[in-house]
Symmetry: D2
Subunit: 248 residues, 4 copies
């Protein structure tokens, strides 16, 4: 089996505009994640960002991507609808999609979910503890009972998402809230994983456990299903298989 | 408890343009459905169609609608995106949505599902049998083991939808196919029911069992949940409930 | 529509044996719950306890019950298997089941779930906050964003249950844990609701919000589905509907 | 990664008692399946049958099994409850379970589902077509749009099972019925796959596509999750992680 082709997309705006963010992620959030994924012997890593032509997500790039990772925050609205259409079509056709943190408000995540993806939030550098609630799932592999993050942004319920196919993580926050922090869905032939942790001013993507979850997510999200069925992204007229009675 | 306010939306194009359709549904598909719903003592019925201003779906109409029924086929693309946005927001806020037959390709259904909603199809006036697979659900109430339709259009799998919250009906077709013909999902505060039967040239919406299912669907889809939560269609910044440690 | 027939089952052992419990629930936990349910104009209330013949759950009582509520803790093993069989059969046939607090380890709940229903726990009279995560569901009706309980026993994840059909509440605990505190499943024609709060020495079942949730649960759990299907609790041989080819 | 340890369990009664069955499966159904699995380079295969001590399912055998396959029909009641307990505990702890055909009425399947697992059935050697409804899932890999079986026993709805985590196959039968023929659930750390085809007098387990599905099922069902969580098969008392306020 060939390597998993991972494309890490980052809007890459905060890191150019805000010194505080630049200090944490000097090469961008995408490079912090790519650094770890490149160490994985079973992965081949590309990156893409908002300011590139077609946001770096050409037909060729997507065709050559098994799993797309997505980080965005301040520029969700700058992502062109035609690129969102293209990514959606490719996900339905089998590309995995991993949406991280503030990506919950991205056009592509809202498109795939059909909901507003709203939530409540607070920046108070408080403690978070992500509890594993589904030890059956390979995304939770090699973790303990929970992941603890000393300082994070808080996300609270109601998180406006469809009922997950499987709920993997639930977060506890010091300020009193809970959040469904890790969940998976399938859409068409594609698998989708949302994972909450991550922020532009906390060094979350250097945390070894968070990186482990993301690598597990990539391995899980790679398509391994059936390519011979019809009905995904097409609506064909078909002949009967069984003989029908003569029309009267 | 007041009456359920039902708005029946029909694109109402076939019935104006094609004599064959006009013969079956002289007042439009919406009126065939409305006729039955108006007989229900617990329902108040409105209709709306594509050619009306704002497609008949003004803010006022939607605010005054508990459950919206949707039929469309040849003019899906003529529905304005801003109206689709408006309907989606209202569904997330609690309005029920019942999508019928070829409405599977409507903008609003694809928007709520996040998938292509593709399938295979054939017009051969063949027999269909809709089996109840979930006798727990109130939408299947007062039916037998199955509903039989002598002449229908065929829809076949793969039907590109998210895994339903609950699957209610599976169809058998004479020509050899099966189809997940009735399924429900919730999105935000809203409930969604997709029901396959119905076609512009078969008199499906006069069938008493089909009408029963649609009326059951309306009763089920009416919102009866929690209006005090936040996170649906909003993303507010919130204060901690528990006292946080002093920042260092 | 007639009244909902509710039977509240309590093992009723702690209240007879431990003075501390007797002080909180002098007539038993079942009577604390029954007191509130009897005030509901749409409910008719019975109680049943372990020490009665057949644990108070005769064929007659179950046949006359729409929704069974279950509280047990120290005497799970004393419940006879034949009564568990009888309750399971009746649930599959359409009786609603509401399992409360330590009832998670009851024979009937483990039977219906197929899992160990294990969890972690602690008695430290700590604060709990039950967040509504599904505002669509009628069990969450008339509540705020969350229910706060000043002093409770803690239950922590992993809670060994099947993926819920719908997850309704997630708890935050002062000591650092989270828990899926409210969830629903259907099994056969029956609806099941598990609700965490409640303990023999905390007066949880006098809390107005907890009582509201339980009454909502009873209304939701009442069967309203299809009685004409076959396959639940039977496995009949059937004739073909379509004509089959001659055997060769 | 080591080989997948597969144990194929068959009650092995029909093949000893009925000449017609012996002719189709001279070495037993388990050996017909084992023959194919032994050809897989990534599998190590054992078999076990009812008449062996402890039905061949000792603690040692189960501890050394990644995935257990189950076929039974006429002797479900002869399987000892203590062995069913043992298998259930091992599934919750992470062993995969594949239940085939008439195994739907086995004690272990009914135990894991919590339902009666009833259905309707007919032996008329009619045609079946198993449609893939979830092309995302690896169990459907390398198949076409459907699998066709010329002569099979019919199983019809309502199939009394919990809502599947994912529905994979729906069958069309010549006599007019449909059936949810392939579905998966997780319970505790274990994965469960039910697959309908197979019968003692039809040579279904020699069909290359059916064998492909079963091999896909074995690969999918192997545990690949989290072993560090607690709550599965245990219910431990735990200390607070966060400091609690002083008791008053």
């Amino acid at each position: 089996m060939g390597a998993i082709k991972v494309t890490i997309w980052n809007e890459f705006q905060h890191e150019k505009q805000h010194d505080e963010v630049k200090k944490v992620y000097p090469n961008g959030i995408h490079e912090a994640i790519a650094e770890y994924m490149r160490e994985q012997p079973d992965m081949e890593v590309k990156t893409a960002t908002l300011d590139e032509p077609e946001h770096g997500l050409t037909e060729e790039v997507l065709a050559d991507t098994d799993v797309l990772m997505w980080w965005g925050h301040m520029a969700h609205d700058k992502v062109k609808d035609e690129i969102v259409d293209r990514v959606q079509t490719r996900v339905l056709d089998g590309m995995g999609l991993i949406v991280m943190h503030s990506g919950h408000m991205s056009k592509i995540f809202r498109r795939m979910m059909g909901t507003s993806c709203g939530l409540t939030w607070r920046e108070a550098a408080e403690k978070e503890r992500l509890w594993v609630v589904n030890p059956n799932h390979e995304i939770t592999r090699d973790l303990g009972q929970y992941i603890e993050l000393e300082h994070t942004e808080m996300y609270g319920e109601v998180f406006d998402i469809p009922e997950p196919d499987e709920l993997l993580f639930v977060s506890w926050f010091q300020g009193g809230e809970v959040f469904r922090s890790g969940a998976v869905w399938h859409r068409g032939r594609g698998k989708i994983f949302y994972f909450r942790p991550g922020h532009e001013t906390f060094p979350i993507y250097f945390n070894p456990e968070i990186r482990q979850v993301l690598a597990n997510g990539v391995r899980w999200a790679k398509f391994n299903g059936n390519t011979n069925t019809v009905g995904i992204n097409v609506c064909p007229n078909v002949k009967p298989i069984e003989k029908l009675p003569e029309a009267k």
